[in-house]
């Protein structure tokens, strides 16, 4: 199809926003939106037009558990969403965090001493490891393949490929965060070999604070928020390095 034709994009955008597309066509059009700003704009225009229609839907109150899950999954204190009496938790949390970080780091270093070297190199000048999130992804035979690291309040995810990954032409290696609860969400695309980096949608602290595992799948195109991952090729722990 010739997606340069504005009337075609407009019709597809209308069908997408209205919800007429099958799963397969939806995924395809989502990929087109990622690649084509004109498609994105057409979708935004239809979203703008159609939102007033949603206003006639009667509101329904979700259960209290819905907010608790959201709060928990975004790194909040799920059981006390608005309680001011939770001040003691505020200081307990970093203490527990540090304890967990130390234990996890020791475990990781002991398991994969060589894999920790790159992080060490990066921060050698400072003489100390910065607070970071670190993930080590292994293949099915438990060989370390990808080292992913990002400073706690940074948005840049640095990637070191510890060995080359063979990927069919036209495909990408997509890195996913696997939160404790809820669906995996995409973080970015990693190189097939060597080193690389990408910008995340938000800081590591926001995205990864309740993410114990990372995974990589082979995808046709960079995954969008809300997309479902293909089967995982590599998986590994994500730990707090502080």
């Amino acid at each position: 199809m010739n997606y340069d034709r504005p009337e075609l994009l407009d019709r597809l955008a209308a069908e997408y926003v209205f919800g007429m597309m099958s799963a397969r066509v939806r995924r395809r059009f989502q990929a087109i939106q990622r690649a084509l700003p004109a498609a994105q704009h057409a979708v935004q225009a239809w979203e703008q037009r159609l939102t007033p229609l949603a206003r006639s839907v009667p509101p329904e109150r979700p259960s209290a558990a819905a907010w608790e899950a959201i709060d928990h999954r975004t790194g909040g204190q799920a059981s006390r969403p608005v309680a001011p009496a939770s001040a003691w938790l505020a200081w307990l949390k970093p203490v527990l965090g540090v304890a967990f970080g130390v234990v996890a780091t020791l475990g990781l270093v002991r398991l994969y001493p060589t894999a920790m070297v790159p992080v060490d190199e990066i921060v050698q000048a400072r003489g100390t490891l910065p607070a970071s999130y670190v993930g080590l992804l292994t293949d099915a035979a438990n060989n370390p393949v990808v080292l992913a690291s990002s400073t706690r309040h940074g948005r840049t995810m640095s990637i070191k490929m510890l060995r080359k990954v063979d990927v069919p032409p036209g495909k990408v290696l997509q890195l996913w965060a696997l939160p404790k609860e809820g669906a995996a969400f995409p973080l970015g695309v990693v190189p097939f070999e060597g080193k690389g980096s990408f910008q995340m949608a938000d800081t590591s602290e926001k995205l990864l604070s309740s993410v114990p595992r990372l995974a990589i799948s082979v995808e046709n195109a960079p995954a969008r928020a809300g997309a479902a991952p293909a089967p995982y090729l590599l998986t590994g722990n994500c730990v707090k390095l502080w």
């Binding site: 099958s22 037009r49 949603a54 206003r55 329904e60 899950a69 975004t74 969400f185 479902a228």
Partner: protein
């Protein structure tokens, strides 16, 4: 505070604070919009537990993407509704475990989770038209086209599901939907 009572400008302020990681603002945004958005999700996926999953994913998405929200491009409710509808439609379309569920099952005792009498999608479309003062415009859309549009928008039915539901050939449904959308676009553009 229900969504209807909070101004768009206030929601914009809240979103701006959410983008900075302000959890109190996030909670206020949730309190102000969750019921409306949950209604939208429930209408599409038709089961409370699935709709709550959709709502959770959508708010987590909003928390993560708030910094990318551009007030100049869309109203906060437009932005949030789009996130919820997209997530709900993806959930509905990907739901292999529910794919065998027919519309009849949905409307029988199998999913008694929407008890509101206004559940009828055509009724919702007409209410929206009344509220938006586009009634004349909607009246210009033929009955079958209007029925198809309402089934698709409010219940997320696909072409083939609409065809099955109203007992018409899928070819006719596609034509009705396309014409209906064209007319609706002209209607809604008059609003803008």
């Amino acid at each position: 505070m229900p969504a209807a009572k909070i101004a768009s400008a206030d929601l914009q302020q809240l979103l701006a604070r959410v983008a900075l990681g302000d959890r109190v603002a996030f909670r206020r945004l949730y309190d102000a919009t969750a019921s409306s958005l949950f209604g939208v999700a429930l209408r599409i996926v038709r089961q409370r537990d699935r709709a709550e999953e959709v709502l959770q994913d959508a708010f987590i998405n909003a928390w993560n993407r708030a910094a990318g929200y551009q007030a100049a491009l869309s109203q906060p409710m437009t932005w949030l509704t789009a996130i919820v509808r997209n997530r709900a439609l993806d959930e509905l379309r990907s739901g292999a475990r529910h794919s065998a569920e027919s519309l009849d099952d949905r409307e029988s005792g199998a999913a008694p989770e929407i008890e509101d009498e206004r559940a009828n999608p055509l009724g919702l479309l007409e209410q929206a038209a009344d509220a938006l003062a586009i009634r004349d415009c909607l009246d210009a859309i033929d009955g079958p086209q209007r029925q198809c549009l309402a089934l698709v928008y409010y219940h997320g039915l696909s072409h083939s599901e609409v065809a099955g539901h109203i007992g018409s050939p899928i070819g006719s449904v596609k034509v009705w939907l396309r014409r209906g959308l064209d007319k609706l676009k002209r209607c809604l553009e008059r609003l803008a």
